[in-house]
């Protein structure tokens, strides 16, 4: 008995070194992500910071990299952002309310709708570009205009907004709905005055994250024709080029100066997107409610 206990204590734990090795691998896994992020940011800033100046914000693209700017692209990205919010938030929240509050889960078409939305969230973005090319640009004859780009990005980020809004609505406890019904509220009064205000922080966070994702998309915009030389400020129904597309255009040029220009435009794009993301996370932490 004593011998066995002593034996247990003195015996070196087996697999000590495998455990340490494994722990090292886990830390390395995380480090790979963070080191890449660090290298990426360093590369972009060291290359591009010199050219983040008024020329970049106030000039049109040009064949001469020293006087080329991205004003039309930056403005178009801002316009697209506004349109994107105006389209996706009502559509996404409306769909989420329908699925969470109105739809009968036992009906096959409502279950199909749910699977359909999950599927849409994972369709490659270039496929949305093909949809835009076939229906909006050529089919409807809308042409390669800013509105078509905004509409295609709307469809692209809509599933993200729906999924976020559904989670926010589901988190509102049922007791609040029951209490409102007991006081004589109609279904819509319950949704509009009780459920939606309770779900607002979650919906706002999801919408901003979706906006940030949409503004960084390039591939679908290439197909709806944002890859044009645009030297004037964008209009709703005119030719346009967005900031990510402008960056791609500059990267694709062989001259080294355009790479630098691309890096400085990336700084602007990352600043916009990371600010949006940080704002969304702040919003979530600040207004997150525990019921």
């Amino acid at each position: 008995m004593n011998a066995a206990a002593g034996n247990l204590r003195t015996k070196r734990p087996r697999g000590l070194w495998t455990g340490r090795l494994f722990y090292g691998f886990l830390v390395l896994s995380l480090l790979i992500g963070f080191l890449t992020l660090g290298a990426l940011l360093a590369q972009v800033f060291l290359e591009g910071y010199k050219w983040v100046d008024l020329v970049l914000f106030l000039e049109a693209p040009s064949a001469d990299p020293r006087i080329a700017g991205a004003e039309p692209a930056i403005l178009a990205t801002i316009y697209i952002g506004i349109l994107l919010l105006a389209f996706t938030v009502p559509l996404g929240v409306g769909t989420a309310i329908y699925l969470e509050e109105y739809a009968n889960r036992d009906r096959w078409y409502n279950r199909m709708l749910e699977v359909n939305i999950q599927n849409l969230a994972a369709v490659p973005s270039i496929v949305y570009g093909i949809l835009g090319l076939a229906f909006l640009v050529r089919g409807l004859g809308l042409g390669r205009v800013l509105l078509a780009g905004a509409m295609i990005l709307t469809l692209l980020v809509l599933p993200t907004v729906i999924i976020a809004a559904r989670e926010a609505i589901r988190a509102v406890p049922d007791s609040i709905r029951q209490a409102a019904y007991a006081l004589g509220a109609t279904k819509w009064q319950v949704v509009w005055r009780q459920v939606l205000p309770g779900a607002l922080p979650g919906i706002a966070t999801g919408s901003i994250l979706a906006l940030s994702r949409g503004l960084g998309e390039t591939a679908p915009l290439l197909l709806v024709g944002a890859l044009t030389y645009v030297s004037f400020n964008p209009t709703l129904l005119g030719d346009f080029t967005a900031l990510p597309v402008q960056i791609y255009q500059w990267i694709a040029r062989p001259q080294e100066e355009f790479r630098t220009l691309a890096a400085s435009a990336i700084i602007v794009l990352l600043a916009i997107l990371l600010t949006l993301n940080a704002f969304a996370i702040w919003l979530r932490n600040r207004y997150e409610r525990r019921w």
Partner: protein, 309 residues
């Protein structure tokens, strides 16, 4: 004793006495919002498959799927999609080499080793990687990763599947990490406690208890990551090259399906020509591949949720 009034004898009616049309209108409007998603799916299917079917009337589907020469813009044109599929799989393979082991490693660390506070700060930081636009990753692959690979003595050119794939792997790392971590966190604590009580180390518990119990979610995260790698466009368009190349050597330049679609679709290809329809034929192939993987992943994610919730 007063007799109760006649009205109370009847059961209380809880129905509204008049129909509220406003409520009905609201329901219809909301259903219409939901219909937009259905219309999108129908639109995608019609937009892809109608021209694709016309394309397959002109070019035999067997030649398309088994041909090893893709040169739709040359005369005589050749429409064998295998070089594009090989390019896609090559880049995806490189991405898997990064995102599967290290994504899983990050997930195990976050779920089993990290303190709650560490996890709370590390997770959003990792999510930043997923928030960087793909065009920026393309720039990074071209201007940073490729020169470093050349410094290491690898014979890679300006464009290579390896460089694009490695960067894509890092981009997908948070996808694998976060879905895997979710499914590992759903494993009941009892299982871990039981294993510790039998003398297991943390390594044993992680690899022999938690990972097998969460395996369906972990596989789902792999499948979703692969599906996203297959559908990713900008990194390969910028860093992998623009020439179809039927090769399994990751150091060479390749063109993927997505890169072909983007390169051809951005130009002024006239509507109705066979070149225009190639976009849709390749797009349909891409859509079917990702669709099957996504459905599979969605099923798997559901299954692990059903077990532990």
């Amino acid at each position: 004793m007063a007799t109760p009034p006649a009205a109370a004898q009847q059961p209380l009616r809880l129905r509204a006495t008049r129909r509220r049309w406003g409520e009905d209108v609201v329901k219809v409007v909301l259903a219409l919002c939901a219909f937009v998603s259905v219309a999108t799916t129908v639109g995608i299917v019609v937009a892809l498959f109608q021209p694709a079917i016309e394309f397959f009337r002109a070019i035999s589907i067997v030649d398309f799927l088994t041909g090893t020469d893709w040169s739709p813009l040359f005369v005589p044109a050749s429409f064998g999609v295998l070089p594009l599929i090989a390019g896609t799989l090559l880049v995806t393979g490189c991405a898997i080499l990064v995102c599967v082991p290290f994504g899983l490693g990050a997930a195990i660390y976050l779920s089993e080793y990290a303190q709650p506070r560490t996890r709370k700060t590390l997770k959003p930081l990792l999510e930043i990687l997923a928030g960087v636009p793909t065009v920026v990753y393309g720039y990074f692959a071209l201007t940073f990763v490729t020169p470093r690979l050349q410094d290491l003595g690898l014979p890679v050119g300006v464009f290579s599947a390896l460089s694009a794939g490695l960067v894509m792997g890092v981009m997908l790392l948070p996808t694998v990490a976060s879905i895997s971590e979710d499914s590992m966190s759903a494993v009941p604590q009892d299982l871990r406690d039981g294993a510790y009580a039998l003398g297991s180390t943390r390594l044993n518990v992680s690899t022999l208890i938690v990972v097998p119990a969460a395996i369906s979610g972990i596989i789902a995260s792999f499948v979703l990551a692969i599906s996203r790698a297959v559908g990713e466009t900008m990194i390969v368009l910028i860093a992998a090259g623009g020439q179809p190349n039927f090769t399994w050597n990751p150091q060479e330049a390749v063109q993927t399906m997505t890169a072909f679609i983007a390169a051809t679709g951005q130009g002024d290809v006239p509507t109705g020509t066979i070149e225009y329809k190639t976009i849709f034929a390749v797009g349909a192939t891409l859509f079917v591949m990702t669709f099957v993987m996504n459905l599979f992943a969605i099923r798997l994610v559901r299954r692990f949720r059903e077990v532990y919730e």
